[in-house]
């Protein structure tokens, strides 16, 4: 009972929290849960309270849009964004612009692709759950099935069954049942949902994207996975490294999603930035905090402060006319999205 009373007292303290963290989802969303867990540790090292303010709506764009238009001008307001916001930024008419913000911390993430044992990974068909968040995977699979210089629109149409309307839960169950023969997950979810199938021989790890190295702009190997990255698999299968506009478009969308999978932001010139970054650095250096976070959300690489801003500059360098046009066209014509070509991103 004491715990409950304490909890009630603590809940009232939210009203006097020092910072507001804008979360663009409902309290039960993936990024919301991640934020709740990380903030719990971050506060310990900051010595101040962080109140989570949920701003769901417009497919998680309402929060970043409000932050861009109004909330960022408050020095005590922080935003957390996720990989889906990164993809929307590239191909949708959103208000927000990462270049107007400064990075506090980012979590770099790898995504792993698995396939059923009986899937024909050389010729298809690959049955894969649709969704804008799946764009990098389906572009990689299309390149693997088509080989270098192929007409990728035709490869997609002929060799991929793009199953629309599946939630994450449905996708996982459909893959277990064999309705889908390809799937993808982040490392923590992969361990939970796909590795049991790889262990019993029903499925195998096809490839993963690797981790973006912001200094070189290349995708490094992930020490947690011995399987090849997409680039390595493509080269071993087709004898040459992937290249061209389609590959650049893949690299663009993959990087904006995974390198910014979870990211904290403040407005440019925010006077509290140094304090927030220092607290985050202390959190990352604290084995107790790291263990508490990793136990719940998995082991991921962090970038903080200037390193995060450098990552955004690297990501910006991937936005080339060819890559952006290809991504927009493929999204619109093949994947069926309402993608728009945002020429202003090239400036």
């Amino acid at each position: 009972m004491f715990r409950i009373i304490t909890a009630l007292l603590m809940m009232t303290s939210v009203a006097v929290a020092d910072y507001n963290l804008i979360v663009p989802q409902k309290p039960s969303g993936g990024t919301s849960v991640w934020s709740q867990i990380v903030v719990q540790e971050w506060e310990k090292h900051l010595g101040e309270k962080i109140n989570l303010v949920y701003k769901p709506g417009a497919r998680d764009q309402l929060g970043p849009n409000e932050f861009q238009n109004k909330l960022r001008f408050d020095d005590k307001t922080i935003l957390v964004s996720h990989g889906g916001n990164g993809i929307s930024y590239l191909v949708e008419p959103v208000d927000y612009n990462y270049l107007d913000w400064e990075s506090i911390g980012q979590m770099n993430l790898n995504i792993i692709v698995g396939a059923r044992k009986n899937a024909n990974t050389l010729n298809g068909p690959i049955k894969f759950s649709a969704g804008s968040g799946m764009t990098p995977e389906i572009m990689a699979i299309t390149m693997l099935l088509g080989g270098p210089g192929a007409d990728y629109d035709r490869v997609f149409a002929e060799k991929i069954v793009w199953v629309k309307g599946m939630s994450g839960s449905e996708r996982r169950l459909a893959f277990r049942r064999g309705d889908l023969n390809g799937t993808r997950e982040n490392p923590a979810a992969y361990k939970k949902h796909v590795q049991p199938l790889t262990k019993d021989g029903t499925a195998f790890t096809w490839f993963h994207h690797g981790l973006l190295n912001v200094k070189t702009g290349q995708h490094d190997k992930d020490p947690n996975f011995k399987e090849p990255t997409f680039e390595a698999l493509f080269e071993s299968t087709h004898g040459v490294a992937p290249s061209g506009d389609f590959y650049d478009a893949y690299k663009l969308v993959k990087s904006w999603r995974d390198a910014l999978q979870k990211a904290f932001w403040v407005n440019r010139g925010n006077p509290n930035k140094a304090k927030l970054v220092a607290a985050l650095d202390r959190m990352i250096a604290d084995p107790v905090s790291v263990a508490a976070i990793q136990k719940k959300v998995g082991q991921y690489e962090w970038r903080t402060g200037a390193e995060g801003d450098a990552a955004v500059r690297t990501l910006k360098s991937f936005i080339t006319p060819g890559a952006l046009k290809t991504l927009t066209d493929f999204g619109k014509n093949q994947l069926g999205y309402n993608a728009v070509y945002k020429e202003q991103l090239l400036k």
């Binding site: 409902k26 719990q40 949920y54 309402l62 804008s132 309307g165 599946m166 839960s169 449905e170 309705d179």
Partner: protein
């Protein structure tokens, strides 16, 4: 300590269950702020959360029966006969029947769930996309043809519910039916919809007749009503058990939810008793629908614990809360965690029993509530509904949405369009839409005819539709 936490969870869940239009999902969402205080012993957090589910599920019958406002989506089916019973001066009897049926099935199917958890894997795996699609169609037919006499209006209401449920974005992430209002790109939120459809019209009705009460009958002691409700459940044991089976089966299947279970159970009760009249206060209707209630919640744990795939909306929130506690449901580690299973079993089964005892106590006073004029409690209910609604985005858009949904509810009540049918259309719209897409992409007609469960369910659909059109239902609830 376990018992203290269990009691705290029960009391909190019961309060949430009693609040109109709230329910287990809403109750669990508000728990995120409490989770850090279970860090030293996460299993106490497990007990608390599961106790909230168990008690809110039983408690949500109260506002449906007493006020005609469902405590949760699933309680709408109970309301169809429960509210007329309250109007007839039988509130305690209706509540007692609901509590008994819900509790007994919760205990039976809860025990089966937790005892044989690992053995359910194959059942879940047999139920593919076509089978789920056919079950959703069955739910539509049950509500559309079986549970109302005015089936044309009912089908219209279902269609309207489906339309509203599809507001948001389509499978291509393109805004659909939003009229440019970005706020609803994530869809119409369930709380303002349910509150607007059921609570506000009843509150309005109560305000218009603010000096009146639900019943004017002179009740002679509620103990008699409670005993009668218990005896009713015994007398209608087949309806109760059938409801439990249906609820348990639906709970196994991810994403279908409690409302569908309760409506199928209610429809099955109506179909199994062709010589009785429903919708005007038949206790069988209450017993049948409530049989599915706790049983569905219990079996929803199966896909959630085994695969980490939530069996119902509340289970998705529960998974997130458990993750906060460091317990990753569906991961291989959880299978070896005997304390987790013990905590869940203890909280659900013991929680269900204690909740039942408390609910019988509350049901004793139920008759009094029906004799209290609306004017004394409607400001509190309205205040809570507005508060809960604005928790979504803390903006005027939330209020506007509640207003629009309230107008719709008042319209439906005035012109006798089935509000339960509208609700079920709304709740299942996304399921039927996405399942249709998936089925059309992955299956051919030749493939479908080889699936016995799909064929069997579709035959039930045809028979029910024929029966509904030719025989007409005996239910008149709108």
């Amino acid at each position: 300590m376990e018992l203290v936490i269990l009691m705290a969870g029960i009391v909190y869940g019961l309060i949430i269950g009693l609040i109109p239009a709230a329910g287990a999902t809403t109750g669990l969402i508000t728990l995120f702020g409490f989770m850090p205080y279970f860090a030293s012993d996460p299993y106490l957090g497990v007990i608390f959360c599961v106790a909230v589910v168990a008690s809110s599920t039983t408690g949500d019958s109260f506002s449906g029966v007493l006020l005609g406002i469902p405590g949760a989506n699933s309680a709408a089916a109970t309301m169809v006969d429960g509210f007329p019973m309250a109007k007839n001066g039988e509130a305690s009897r209706a509540l007692s029947a609901a509590i008994t049926s819900s509790t007994l099935n919760g205990l039976l199917f809860g025990s089966l769930t937790f005892l044989f958890l690992p053995y359910y894997t194959k059942i879940v795996m047999y139920m593919g996309i076509p089978e789920l699609w056919s079950l959703v169609v069955l739910a539509f037919v049950t509500v559309g043809f079986v549970s109302t006499r005015r089936y044309v209006r009912s089908i219209t209401a279902i269609a309207a519910g489906v339309f509203i449920g599809l507001i948001g974005v389509d499978v291509n992430n393109v805004p659909r039916f939003t009229g440019g209002w970005r706020y609803i790109e994530d869809g119409v939120q369930i709380l303002p919809f349910v509150a607007g459809l059921f609570a506000i019209p009843e509150l309005w009705d109560g305000w218009v007749k603010r000096k009146q009460t639900i019943t004017h009958k002179n009740l002679k002691g509620s103990t008699q009503g409670i005993w009668q409700g218990i005896m009713d459940t015994g007398r209608c044991w087949r309806d109760s058990l059938r409801g439990g089976f249906i609820g348990s089966f639906i709970g196994l299947l991810p994403g279908l939810g409690g409302a569908m279970a309760d409506w199928l159970a209610y429809g099955a009760t109506v179909a199994a008793n062709p010589n009785e009249k429903f919708g005007t206060g038949n206790v069988r209707g209450v017993v049948g629908a409530e049989g599915a209630n706790n049983a569905q919640k219990a079996s929803s744990f199966i896909p959630t614990v085994l695969f980490g795939i939530p069996g119902a909306p509340f289970a998705a929130i529960l998974m997130a809360l458990f993750l906060y506690l460091g317990i990753d449901l569906g991961s291989p580690d959880t299978f070896l965690d005997t304390r987790l299973f013990n905590s869940m079993t203890y909280a659900f089964l013991v929680g269900t029993v204690i909740t039942a005892i408390l609910c019988y106590g509350l049901a004793y006073f139920a008759g009094w509530v029906t004799r209290v004029p609306y004017v004394y409690y409607f400001p509190f209910i309205l205040g809570f509904i507005v508060w809960a609604t604005v928790q979504y985005s803390h903006s005027w858009s939330d209020i506007l949405m509640l207003t629009v949904c309230s107008a719709l509810g008042l319209f439906c009540k005035q012109f006798q369009f089935s509000r339960p049918a509208l609700l079920i259309g709304f709740l299942l719209s996304d399921r039927i839409y996405s399942l249709t897409y998936q089925m059309a992409t992955l299956h051919t007609p030749a493939d479908l005819v080889t699936r016995p469960i799909f064929i069997g369910t579709m035959m039930c659909v045809v028979v029910l539709a024929y029966w509904g059109i030719t025989k007409r239902s005996r239910i008149d609830y709108v």
